[in-house]
């Protein structure tokens, strides 16, 4: 069962009709439907194309959160061989909102750290909807230490509605855990490539995204606060999320123009959730390119380049 977003209603109607025709034809062999199906399919396709070439920031927010959008574990299963999950922060707990482990990306050993939202109800509960607790960030720091010790690059996959806002998380130092994780990204002697695959919300995202390259999927969003949160604070009303999404400039295209990200990975027509495999393969190609660009760089070159990139942000071309 495909989940349609509200702006995809016309496409949904066309695709329902195609499905209906197919079922009728299956019962009645004398029916020829191919012409009609082809016509409807091309109409649906051009509608999708129209929609997806000019998604509004709010529509992109919905696409980025689409339940069928490929998640961290999908990328791992398609792109990473020999994946060996590593668990626990060695202090308090294992946090399944952040997946981490050794693996190979096209044979190259890497440390992969990513946020997983979960694919179904049970998965979403297990992974806490991708909302990490301090232990998740502390595990990430531990894995970055490990990667650095053995000179492995780190790839992070960002997809979180934010760090978990709970009493225990606060008491165990959510803020400190995020700060230390960002700090570790920035001191890492090996390359760090971050890909925002879905939604990258606030401090919970930057904690893993302070990389040498920051890459976004075409319809992913990356923001200082969720549009809903911004709406309730600045408009003092819950229903201005649409306006907030536009005002905050959270799309890949706007963030590329602002110099906050480096690269955009194009998504298939109709979004990553329509062609997950194609999306993941494309991401793999871009990741390999990014890693190849940093091959042979010394630790100090890697650190300096990363620092200069972040220090330059907002300084140029904006005055």
């Amino acid at each position: 069962m495909r989940t349609y977003l509200d702006f995809e209603k016309p496409v949904a109607e066309l695709e329902d009709k195609i499905e209906e025709l197919r079922q009728l034809a299956a019962k009645d062999a004398s029916m020829t439907i191919s012409d009609e199906v082809a016509r409807l399919e091309s109409k649906a396709d051009s509608l999708l194309r129209q929609n997806y070439t000019r998604l509004t920031p709010w529509q992109k927010t919905q696409v980025a959160r689409h339940p069928n959008r490929p998640h961290c574990l999908d990328y791992i299963s398609q792109l990473v061989t020999d994946f060996t999950p590593l668990a626990g922060d060695r202090g308090f707990a294992e946090d399944k909102a952040i997946i981490g482990g050794l693996g190979r990306l096209n044979d190259r050993p890497i440390m992969l750290i990513g946020q997983e939202k979960g694919a179904d109800t049970e998965g979403r509960v297990r992974h806490n909807f991708g909302m990490a607790r301090p232990e998740g960030y502390r595990k990430a720091v531990r894995l970055m230490d490990l990667a650095e010790k053995f000179k492995l690059p780190v790839v992070t996959l960002i997809d979180t509605p934010g760090a978990y806002p709970g009493v225990g998380a606060e008491e165990r130092g959510q803020a400190e855990a995020i700060a230390r994780s960002t700090d570790r990204c920035l001191s890492l002697q090996t390359p760090l490539i971050a890909v925002i695959i879905g939604e990258g919300m606030s401090g919970g995202a930057i904690a893993l995204a302070a990389g040498n390259r920051v890459i976004m999927l075409e319809h992913a969003i990356y923001s200082v606060i969720s549009p809903e949160g911004c709406s309730s604070i600045l408009w003092r009303s819950a229903d201005k999320a649409k306006e907030a999404a536009s005002a905050m400039k959270l799309t890949a295209q706007e963030l590329l123009a602002l110099g906050v990200i480096d690269t955009i990975i194009p998504e298939p027509i109709g979004g990553a959730h329509r062609e997950p495999l194609q999306t993941i393969q494309q991401t793999g190609i871009v990741l390999e390119q990014a890693l190849a660009e940093l091959d042979g760089k010394s630790a100090s070159e890697i650190i300096t380049a990363r620092r200069e990139k972040f220090l330059a942000m907002g300084r140029q071309g904006l005055l």
Partner: protein
């Protein structure tokens, strides 16, 4: 703080208070009311106590200039230039345009942005101090705050001096979008450079320090000091309550609890912050003991302190 039940006293006294506040509007008032204990306090006494209520010791917010005056020797110091940043990089508009909100903040505070920094001496030790200003758009962290922080860290490096930051912030400056979030890694880089230079970085967390500020430079200090009862946390209490649908525990996200949970080193009364900073920094910077704290007697013999009461920790 404000939704305390009215008792007989406030009910009786309220009309008088209003009269006082009317006087205050004309600049003639001599009294202020403590928001914690409702006591009327002589303004003169409040100023002398650095905005700490003499009755209940509640720490009211302190403006950057008074803070600097209270820290540096002889209230003498040099302000760092305020960085020039893009005024409205996103052309942001909510119910008002961002430049309009900025203008209002400047008008109501008489200040340019939410952080200021200065260099000067504390007990003869050269220091750089940054003070965040909650009354300026909630102390929110945008490009200007980030650049001021970086400039302060660079100044500290240039002077081989420690950096002290008084944090106070509701979090990110939403009107600057991702450029605001990017101040988290940017300020972290400035701290890393201090670390590499072997210079101390001390954070004093004041009321309130939350959001992206706590989750970056306010939690990366060599030593974390907090003022009593300061609100310190990452997520806002309303958001947490909506998530867990329970009441929050007593003292949650307050300085003393945060200390007991292991996130800060100590809670220090405002009147003692200067000497606490001085004591810590002199040791971290390997400076000799100050004359007035000298423990050796006139002949140079060591005065035993073993019989003194052990510190209460």
């Amino acid at each position: 703080m404000d939704n305390k039940p009215m008792n007989w006293l406030t009910r009786v006294v309220r009309p008088k208070i209003q009269a006082v506040f009317r006087m205050r509007d004309t600049g003639e008032s001599l009294w202020d009311k403590c928001p914690a204990c409702d006591q009327m306090i002589f303004q003169r006494d409040l100023i002398a106590a650095l905005n700490v209520c003499p009755n209940c010791q509640h720490h009211l917010r302190l403006d950057p200039k008074t803070r600097m005056d209270s820290l540096f020797d002889g209230a003498r110091y040099d302000w760092l230039d305020e960085p020039v940043v893009a005024a409205d990089p996103l052309k942001f508009r909510d119910q008002k345009r961002y430049p309009e909100r900025l203008r209002e903040a400047k008008r109501s505070t008489g200040r340019e942005e939410a952080m200021r920094a200065a260099s000067g001496h504390i007990d003869n030790l050269l220091c750089v101090v940054g003070v965040q200003d909650f009354s300026f758009m909630g102390g929110s962290m945008g490009m200007a705050v980030g650049e001021m922080f970086i400039a302060a860290a660079e100044k500290a490096r240039a002077l081989s001096a420690p950096l002290i930051i008084f944090a106070a912030s509701g979090g990110a400056r939403m009107q600057e979008g991702m450029l605001s979030l990017m101040q988290m890694p940017r300020t972290t880089i400035a701290i890393q450079m201090l670390r590499e230079a072997g210079l101390p970085y001390i954070v004093v967390l004041t009321d309130p320090t939350t959001g992206g500020v706590t989750a970056s430079y306010a939690m990366l200090g060599d030593v974390h000091i907090a003022e009593p009862n300061a609100l310190i946390g990452f997520a806002g209490q309303r958001v947490i309550m909506q998530t867990i649908r329970e009441k929050l525990p007593e003292g949650f996200q307050r300085a003393e609890t945060v200390r007991d949970k292991g996130m800060i080193d100590m809670v220090v009364h405002r009147k003692d912050i200067r000497q606490t900073l001085s004591r810590i920094l002199r040791m971290l910077m390997n400076k000799p003991l100050l004359p007035h704290g000298e423990r050796r007697n006139m002949n140079g013999a060591f005065t035993p302190i073993a019989l003194a009461a052990p510190p209460r920790i």
